[in-house]
C-alpha cells in the first residue's frame, strides 16, 4: 500500500463523514423552532463546506481551491452579519414602540445597540417580563410619531 493510496482513503473517509454531518445539520435547520436556529445552522454548514474545500484542494492537488475556501469564509461571515443587522433592527424597533406607548418600562428585551443600555448596569430584567398578551394591546401606537420638518421645493 503506497502513501498516495492511503491519503486517498483517509480523505475520502473524512469527506464522507462531513457530507453526512451536513445532512444532519440540515435536518436541524428545518426543525429549528426559530429564525436564530436556522442562521446558526447556516453558519455551521458554511464551516463544514470550508473544511471540505480545504480537504479537496489537497486531494485533487488543485491549489486554487484554497482561494475559493477563503472567499467562502468571507461570504459566510458577511451573511451572518447582514442577517443580524436586519433582524436586530426590525425587532428592536417594534419592542421599543410598544413599550413606550403603553407608558411602562420596556419589556425584558433590552436594546443592546442603544447607547444607554450596557451589561454593566443593573437592570431588573427578571421582574419585567410581561405576558405575551400585553404586547398586543396598542396596535395603533405607530400613528403617533413626532412631526418632523420635511423640506419641500
Amino acid at each position: 500500500m503506497t502513501v498516495d493510496l492511503a491519503y486517498q482513503y483517509l480523505f475520502t473517509g473524512a469527506l464522507t463523514v462531513m457530507a453526512v454531518l451536513i445532512g444532519i445539520i440540515l435536518i436541524r435547520s428545518i426543525i429549528g423552532p426559530r429564525i436564530i436556529d436556522r442562521i446558526l445552522c447556516i453558519n455551521m454548514i458554511g464551516t463544514l463546506v470550508i473544511c471540505t474545500i480545504a480537504i479537496l484542494s489537497q486531494m485533487l492537488d488543485e491549489s486554487y481551491l484554497t482561494d475559493i475556501a477563503i472567499i467562502y469564509a468571507m461570504l459566510s461571515f458577511l451573511t451572518v452579519l447582514i442577517l443580524a443587522s436586519v433582524y436586530i433592527r426590525r425587532l428592536n424597533l417594534t419592542d421599543e414602540d410598544e413599550g413606550m406607548k403603553a407608558g411602562e418600562q420596556p419589556p425584558g428585551v433590552q436594546a443592546f445597540g442603544a447607547q444607554d443600555v450596557s451589561l454593566g448596569q443593573t437592570k431588573e430584567t427578571q421582574a419585567s417580563v410581561p405576558a405575551a398578551g400585553s404586547l398586543q394591546q396598542d396596535k395603533n401606537s405607530r400613528e403617533t410619531v413626532p412631526q418632523r420638518e420635511v423640506p419641500h421645493d
Binding site: 472567499i71 452579519l81 424597533l93 445597540g113 442603544a114 420635511v150
Partner: protein, 315 residues
C-alpha cells in the same frame, strides 16, 4: 393544520410564527386589505371623465400598437426560424464546436498570452460578449436606481422618515466595538485580496468578475462596520458615476479599436510578455481592471440603494 397553512399562504400570518405575531400584526388582514384597495381603485378608475379621456387616448393608440406588435412578432419569428434552419441536423457531427474548442485549448496560450484559458477566452476571443455583460450590470444598477432612489420629488412621508432615522442611527451595527475592532483588521486584507484576484486574473482563476465581487463585499463589510457616513467620504454618487463611466468607456473604446483594426481581436499593439508574469496577456489586464471596477460599484450600489435608498450621502 389546513387553516393555519392557508393563513400562512395568504399572508395573514407571518412566516416567522411565534416571533413576530406578537408585534407586527396589522389591523386588517391581508385579503381584506386587498379587497378594499381594489374596490377603491375601481371606483377611482370608473369616473365618467376618466373613462372618456382614457377611451379617447386608447382608441388612437391601440390601432398603431396592434399593427406594430403584429409586424414585429412575425419578423422575430421569421428571423428565429431562419437561424434554426442554419444549424446542423440533430445527431450529425458538428465540426464547428470541435474546431473552436480545440483552437482555444491548443493555441490559447500562444495567441492571447494568458495562462488561464478561461480568462483568455472571455476577454480576448469573446471580449464583445463580456462588454455586453458589463453593460447589463450597469443597466441593472440604473434600473434599481430608478425604482429605489430617493430624490427631491420622491420625498417620504413623515412616518417613513422617522422610521429610517431611528433605525439607521440608533440600531446600527456600527455601535458595536467588537465588530469595529475585527473589521479594522479584516477589511484591508479583504480589499488587498480582491486586488490580488483582480490583477492575477490571467494567471490563476479569478479575474474581473470575481475580483470585483470581492472588492464590493469588502466595501459592504466596511459600511456595515463603520456606518454609512464613513463610506460616504470616498464613495459618493459622483465617484460611482465617474468610475463606471470611465471603465465602460475605456472598455468600449479599446475593444472597438481592436475590432476595427485587427479583425478578430488578436492584434493588440501591446506586447504579450512572458506567460505567467503579472504584466502579460496584452489587453487582458486593463480590461480585467475595468470589469472589476464596474462589478464592485454595482455590488456596493445595490446594497446601498436597498438599504437606504441612495448612493452617497446627499439626496
Amino acid at each position: 393544520m389546513k387553516k393555519r397553512f392557508l393563513a400562512w399562504l395568504y399572508g395573514d400570518q407571518d412566516v416567522m410564527d411565534g416571533i413576530l405575531d406578537n408585534f407586527n400584526k396589522p389591523d386588517v388582514s391581508h385579503s381584506e386589505l386587498k379587497k378594499i384597495t381594489r374596490a377603491a381603485e375601481e371606483e377611482y378608475d370608473h369616473r365618467p371623465e376618466v373613462l372618456e379621456a382614457i377611451g379617447r387616448d386608447r382608441a388612437r393608440f391601440r390601432t398603431i400598437y396592434l399593427v406594430i406588435a403584429f409586424i414585429s412578432c412575425i419578423m422575430l419569428t421569421l428571423v428565429l426560424l431562419y437561424t434554426v434552419s442554419l444549424l446542423p441536423e440533430y445527431g450529425a457531427e458538428n465540426p464547428r464546436a470541435v474546431e473552436v474548442v480545440s483552437r482555444y485549448v491548443e493555441d490559447g496560450l500562444e495567441e492571447t498570452g494568458a495562462v488561464n484559458i478561461v480568462s483568455g477566452m472571455i476577454l480576448d476571443y469573446r471580449a464583445f460578449d463580456t462588454l455586453g455583460e458589463s453593460h447589463v450590470l450597469f443597466t441593472a444598477l440604473i434600473c434599481v436606481m430608478i425604482l429605489l432612489r430617493i430624490d427631491r420629488k420622491n420625498q417620504r412621508s413623515d412616518y417613513e422618515d422617522y422610521y429610517t432615522v431611528r433605525t439607521d442611527t440608533y440600531f446600527d451595527l456600527s455601535t458595536d466595538p467588537v465588530l469595529r475592532l475585527v473589521c479594522a483588521v479584516i477589511v484591508p486584507c479583504i480589499l488587498l485580496y480582491g486586488i490580488y484576484i483582480l490583477l492575477n486574473g490571467q494567471n490563476s482563476p479569478g479575474g474581473g468578475f470575481s475580483g470585483g465581487a470581492v472588492l464590493g463585499a469588502g466595501m459592504i463589510l466596511f459600511s456595515v462596520a463603520f456606518g454609512f457616513d464613513k463610506a460616504d467620504r470616498f464613495f459618493t454618487l459622483k465617484v460611482s458615476n465617474i468610475v463606471t463611466f470611465v471603465s465602460l468607456g475605456f472598455y468600449s473604446f479599446a475593444k472597438g479599436y481592436v475590432f476595427f483594426m485587427g479583425a478578430n481581436g488578436l492584434e493588440n499593439h501591446i506586447p504579450k510578455g512572458t506567460p505567467g508574469a503579472i504584466f502579460s496577456g496584452g489587453m487582458i489586464l486593463p480590461l480585467d481592471i475595468a470589469v472589476g471596477c464596474v462589478v464592485g460599484c454595482t455590488m456596493f450600489g445595490f446594497y446601498s440603494l436597498f438599504r437606504r435608498g441612495s448612493i452617497g450621502g446627499q439626496i
